[in-house]
């Protein structure tokens, strides 16, 4: 309960009359406060009259002289001296004047006196939270999580759109490196950032939003490849006012999202709907089913810039004897068949998947859904080194996928049913370039595995058409300037898997965003605005509160039902759950 206050704004001329009045009323002098309002001072004389505080406020210019009230209230000399020292407010007739020194200035050259601020304080920026730092797409995660906690879903959705055009897709397929960074992870469970994204996308719905598209610039941009990188670049370039055309050899957009991610993780209808909505918002023309063989036709065809995001669609060979065995399938091929053609190929009872990445897991889980009862993943290192996200692995195991570690294929043995492959046991050796221990074969530990189908899923490589005439690196990836994403050819940019090799959707989206910005700059624009950690701090929850909240596991489809078809496994959060989860966020971006 603060004191009762009577505010009395007066001008400099009225000041003395007012103070005489107060003196006559036996008011007691309390203090003088001064505020530096950059161009002028606001001086507040505090008096006490009948248990009420009277604030006499005077505004004066910086070079104006204020009459000292020590002739009426002699005790004011200390207060006046104080603000004279702190703000250099001039007083006339200050008596006794302590030589204007209430602050010591003995060696002011070496020291700074901490005086009250001059003018209004500049705002403090937020900190870069770890989740935000981890996000390849660079989404302002703390912000959208906070907005969810506050119930502002649309704002939250728009925050995501600033960096990534496909929240609904990302909310389903992203590997969520942000969650690994989340500081709650160490305590119990990380904040389910991906699911919150999915939640907010679901809340807003897959629909065309009203967006501000900039005035048309008249510049034309061609984008090769309708994968996440290409579509992202198209979206942002479109918003920037460019005329964008996206080419893809497949008839449906989505690139690897379409072909490489199984239905149960990302319903293709939803994906296409979202892509469509975004592309319409950005007025992007999609030319699907058209394979570009040479860039010259594009550059010569009136396009000012070309963005190549062709992805990495070629499976890596095992490099063992008998590679051409008909029962040795490529996982990409399998997924593409299932996703694009909607086929349900019979693959037999026993399936062995070779590899430890997410594709291997996908292949294994798809195989389970295709009716294989005994699915085993063979990986040459241990679980710890598996590139696949642990959550995926867990889900796969829940669905009955078995895992075999420290085994590597040596050769495919002839014979069709069952097909046979020879594997060898490995042991972990010294770390290699990637920091993971290099597996070394244990001599003499070869053994043979029989299965209906072997699926290789040990990676993808980029295949850039020769006609593009671009400089490639040793591993066939397009060489680009890492800053501008510009290739060896002027006006030709590249991004996504085609540059980085196989990576995640989020990384591709990040690349697309970056490319859009770079292309816009190439076309004479300003580029896209980088994420800013502007002052928008709100109340921070207390640690006790945060720790009180339990983490809520997301609802999942029961395993039996999962295996029946390709229905989405994760069911997403309901509103209450999502808000609670968002409230668990410990505002790491909060600048104290």
């Amino acid at each position: 309960m603060a004191s009762q206050v009577v505010e009395v704004p007066v001008s400099k001329a009225e000041l003395f009359t007012k103070i005489y009045e107060l003196a006559a009323a036996k008011a007691r002098f309390i203090a003088i406060t001064c505020k530096d309002l950059e161009d002028r001072f606001e001086v507040i004389y505090h008096f006490e009259e009948d248990l009420k505080v009277v604030n006499v406020k005077v505004e004066i210019g910086k070079d104006e002289v204020l009459p000292s009230i020590t002739s009426i209230y002699p005790c004011a000399f200390l207060a006046e001296n104080e603000i004279k020292d702190m703000f250099k407010v001039n007083f006339a007739g200050l008596s006794p004047d302590l030589q204007g020194r209430l602050l010591k200035t003995a060696d002011a050259t070496q020291t700074t006196l901490l005086k009250p601020a001059v003018g209004v304080q500049p705002p403090k920026f937020r900190l870069e939270a770890r989740c935000g730092q981890q996000c390849p797409a660079g989404i302002d995660i703390p912000r959208y999580v906070r907005l969810i906690a506050e119930g502002k879903y649309v704002e939250s959705f728009q925050t995501i759109l600033e960096k990534a055009p496909f929240p609904a897709i990302l909310g389903r397929v992203c590997f969520a490196p942000c969650e690994e960074g989340c500081r709650q992870a160490k305590n119990e469970q990380p904040i389910p950032i991906r699911l919150l994204k999915r939640f907010v996308a679901d809340q807003v719905g897959v629909k065309k939003l009203k967006v501000e598209r900039l005035k048309s610039t008249g510049k034309k941009v061609a984008i090769v490849g309708a994968g996440p990188a290409g579509l992202t670049a198209a979206y942002y370039l479109g918003l920037l006012g460019h005329e964008v055309t996206v080419f893809d050899e497949f008839p449906r957009p989505g690139g690897m999202m379409l072909s490489g991610i199984p239905e149960y993780r990302l319903p293709k209808k939803l994906m296409e709907a979202e892509i469509k909505a975004r592309m319409e918002e950005a007025e992007v023309e999609l030319k699907l089913g058209r394979k570009i063989e040479s860039l010259d036709e594009l550059l010569g065809g009136g396009y000012d810039a070309v963005f190549i995001a062709v992805g990495a669609h070629e499976g890596v060979k095992l490099g063992v004897e008998g590679e051409d065995h008909p029962k040795l399938l490529d996982c990409l091929q399998l997924l593409r068949e299932v996703n694009l053609q909607g086929e349900r190929p019979k693959i037999g009872r026993k399936v062995v998947v070779i590899g430890g990445g997410n594709s291997a897991i996908d292949a294994a889980r798809v195989s389970r859904r295709l009716g294989a009862e005994d699915v085993t993943i063979f990986y040459r290192r241990t679980r710890k080194e598996m590139p696949a996200t642990p959550r995926e692995v867990e889900e796969a195991e829940a669905e009955g996928v078995k895992l075999e570690f420290l085994v590597a294929p040596t050769k495919v043995l002839p014979g069709e049913s069952p097909a046979k492959m020879e594997f060898i046991r490995m042991k972990l050796g010294a770390p290699d370039a990637s920091g993971r221990p290099r597996p070394e074969p244990v001599p003499g530990s070869e053994f043979t595995v029989e299965a209906d189908v072997f699926i290789r899923a040990i990676g993808q490589v980029v295949t850039v058409p020769k006609g593009f005439n671009l400089k490639l690196d040793r591993r066939g990836r397009i060489e680009v300037n890492p800053e501008t994403l510009e290739t060896s050819r002027s006006g030709v940019f590249a991004g996504g898997d085609a540059v980085t090799g196989p990576a995640s959707v989020a990384e591709a989206i990040g690349a697309g965003w970056k490319a859009a910005s770079a292309i816009d700059r190439y076309l004479g624009g300003q580029g896209l605005k980088e994420r800013e950690l502007k002052e928008e701090l709100t109340l921070r929850p207390s640690v006790e509160d945060v720790l009180e909240l339990e983490s809520i596991p997301v609802a999942m489809l029961p395993v039996e039902q999962r295996l029946k078809g390709f229905d989405e496994v994760e069911l997403g959060y309901r509103e209450k759950e999502a808000v609670q989860e968002a409230k668990r966020c410990w505002r790491c971006d909060w600048y104290e």
Binding site: L98, Q99, G100, R101, L102, L103, K104, T105, A106
Partner: protein, 639 residues
């Protein structure tokens, strides 16, 4: 032969050289004359000491000369009275002139046998006058040069100055030798004249005023003297002091003694009459030194000591003692309030004279010894202090002891001399303290019951004495804000000669005080009193107490040497004093405040001058003094 020569040399010679110094032109002739007189006086006084007591009768012709000179002197006083327009002086001179004229006309027989009686008391006095007094004259040679330099005099007035200085010495010697009351009276008046002339030497209004004050107060003494002359003549039949002393004590004789005592009080500036001596401080410092240590005021004390034996057992002696005690107490307390160096010294002089008179009044063998010791040591110490004060004053241009702060840093030598002087004034085992010790024991052991009062006075007075002396010593040692480096100051030869001689003499005599007692003091007292002093191993033992003199000096010397050795070895880093915060660089006793302002730590003395200070107190003191004196005397004479 030698008897007459010594008298001539001690009394006549200074007069002659004084007149010569007045008459002869040139600086060097004057200097030569003064130095010559000094040597002659010191040698002749020492010869007198060697010669021992004797009497000497001058031809009657000299009586006529004295009478003529006396009348010339009195007429001169009359002239002075008119010139300075001081009715009191005129009246008081007439009060002497008329009776004397009557006396001269009606009773012309003034010849007394012997004319001059030189006993041990006279020898002691003569020694003081000749040694200390003439050294002061030597000192004055330099001092007056500096003094006149400061005053920017166009024409030197030193001839006149030295005339009176030397005349003073001669007159004093004559005074202590005279047995004839008339002669005594004459010399008495000559000292009054000299005193007057010397006080007004600088001829400033203040000096004239104070000289007039000294003159009329001195003339009161003269009137009293004339009165006693008459009473003595009519009662005893001649003017011999010895016959007066040996006369049967009767009330009327006591009255004569009372008048003499009154005269002595005026000379010695005892309490109701103390103001002239304070006023006399305007005179150049050698004058003050002379007045205080060897001449003038000592004349009064001498007279009291001379007549004291005759007063034994009378009520008058207690009256004398009380007046002395009062002076001692009052001045000791008043001295605390003084800032001016010479006034402190003056008060101290009055106090110590009061002490001597108190001792004379107590009138026991031991008290007489105490009185004589006080007389000797006071002359030396006080002479020394005045000389030192004069030198300092000429360098600091201030008599305020607050301005003397840190003198030790600026003028180490003269400060050391001053410190020794002060040390010998009141601290054991110096001579003055020895004398005071004897005084206390004497007074305490006095059979008279009123002595309790005197003991109380002594106890309080000596505490006050300690206070003001140690305060002054402290002021010399204490230097708040000066960072001046100590330089060995240049002192002219006369300064050095006089001060160092007296310092050495003071300490030496203090150490061998027992010899002094044996050689001079006991012989002086013996004719009249039964002295019971013992001097085991040259220490003093009074029978009721003992004072190891030289062992204490020995301890002190050893301690001093040891201390110097220890601190040489131990060192001791010189640091700035504690200033409750930041010191100012280079000025150790300055402190800083927040505004980076530097302040000097400044110290005011401890004077209590709001409570004790003149002139507020002086009025009361004089009034009370007159009242008490009259009361005590009236009581004494009536009882």
């Amino acid at each position: 032969m030698i008897d007459g020569l010594l008298i001539g040399l001690t009394v006549g010679f200074p007069v002659v050289t004084g007149l010569l110094a007045r008459g002869l032109p040139g600086v060097w002739s004057r200097r030569l004359l003064v130095v010559l007189t000094t040597i002659v006086l010191i040698v002749s006084s020492l010869l007198l000491l060697w010669r021992g007591p004797y009497t000497y009768t001058l031809p009657e012709f000299w009586d006529e000369v004295i009478v003529v000179l006396d009348f010339i002197l009195l007429f001169y006083f009359l002239y002075l009275g008119f010139r300075i327009r001081h009715p009191l002086v005129v009246v008081l001179t007439l009060l002497q002139l008329v009776p004397l004229a009557y006396f001269e006309a009606s009773l012309p027989v003034i010849h007394v046998e012997p004319t001059l009686a030189i006993d041990f008391l006279a020898i002691i006095m003569c020694l003081i006058i000749c040694v200390i007094g003439s050294l002061i004259c030597v000192y004055a040679l330099s001092y007056m040069d500096e003094h006149e330099e400061h005053l920017h005099l166009a024409k030197t007035r030193q001839p006149r100055f030295f005339l009176y200085m030397l005349l003073f010495l001669g007159a004093m010697n004559g005074l202590v030798f005279a047995n004839n009351l008339y002669w005594l009276y004459f010399f008495w008046e000559v000292t009054t004249l000299c005193c007057f002339q010397l006080i007004r030497h600088d001829e400033t209004p203040q000096a004239e005023k104070n000289a007039a004050l000294a003159l009329w107060m001195g003339l009161i003494g003269g009137v009293a003297f004339v009165a006693s002359l008459f009473i003595g003549y009519y009662q005893v039949g001649n003017l011999g002091l010895n016959s007066l002393m040996s006369a049967q004590p009767a009330a009327i004789i006591l009255l004569a003694f009372a008048c003499l005592a009154l005269a002595a009080f005026t000379k010695s500036a005892q309490v109701p009459f103390h103001s002239w001596l304070l006023g006399a401080m305007v005179a150049p410092t050698p004058v003050s030194a002379l007045l205080h240590s060897s001449t003038m005021v000592k004349a009064g004390v001498y007279l009291v000591l001379r007549i004291a034996p005759a007063l034994q057992g009378t009520a008058l002696t207690s009256a004398v003692a009380f007046v002395g005690g009062l002076s001692f107490l009052v001045t000791a307390v008043l001295a605390i309030s003084q800032r001016e160096s010479k006034r402190i010294l003056a008060y101290s002089t009055i106090g110590n004279l009061g002490l001597i008179i108190l001792c004379a009044g107590v009138n026991t063998p031991l008290s007489m010894v105490a009185a004589l010791l006080l007389l000797v040591f006071h002359a030396m110490s006080k002479g020394l202090l005045f000389l030192g004060a004069g030198i300092v004053e000429n360098r600091v241009y201030s008599r305020n002891i607050e301005d003397w702060e840190g003198l030790i840093a600026r003028f180490p030598l003269i400060s050391a001399i001053m410190l020794v002087g002060m040390f010998t004034m009141f601290l054991p085992p110096s001579g003055m303290l020895l004398a005071k010790w004897v005084t206390l024991e004497a007074v305490a052991s006095s059979p008279a019951q009123w002595a309790i009062t005197l003991v109380t006075i002594l106890a309080v007075g000596s505490a006050a004495t300690t206070l003001f002396w140690s305060k002054w010593m402290a002021h010399l040692l204490f230097h708040p804000s000066t960072a001046e480096r100590a330089k060995r100051e240049k002192l002219q030869l006369p300064y050095l000669a006089s001060t160092i001689t007296i310092t050495a003499l003071d300490i030496a005599v203090s150490v061998i005080a027992a010899v002094l007692v044996a050689a001079l003091v006991i012989p002086t007292v013996k004719p009249w009193y039964a002295v019971k002093l013992a001097l085991p191993l040259l220490n003093l033992s009074t029978g009721i107490g003992a004072f190891p003199i030289w062992p204490l000096f020995l301890v002190m010397a050893v301690a001093l040497a040891l201390a110097v050795m220890v601190f040489r070895a131990k060192g001791g880093k010189l640091v700035s004093p504690y200033m409750c915060g930041e010191n100012v660089e280079g000025a150790p006793a300055s402190f800083r405040s927040t505004a980076d302002l530097e302040f000097n730590f400044d110290a005011s003395g401890m004077f209590f001058d709001r409570a004790l200070g003149e002139p507020k107190t002086n009025r009361y003191v004089t009034a009370v003094g007159i009242l008490l004196t009259v009361l005590v005397f009236a009581l004494a004479l009536v009882v």
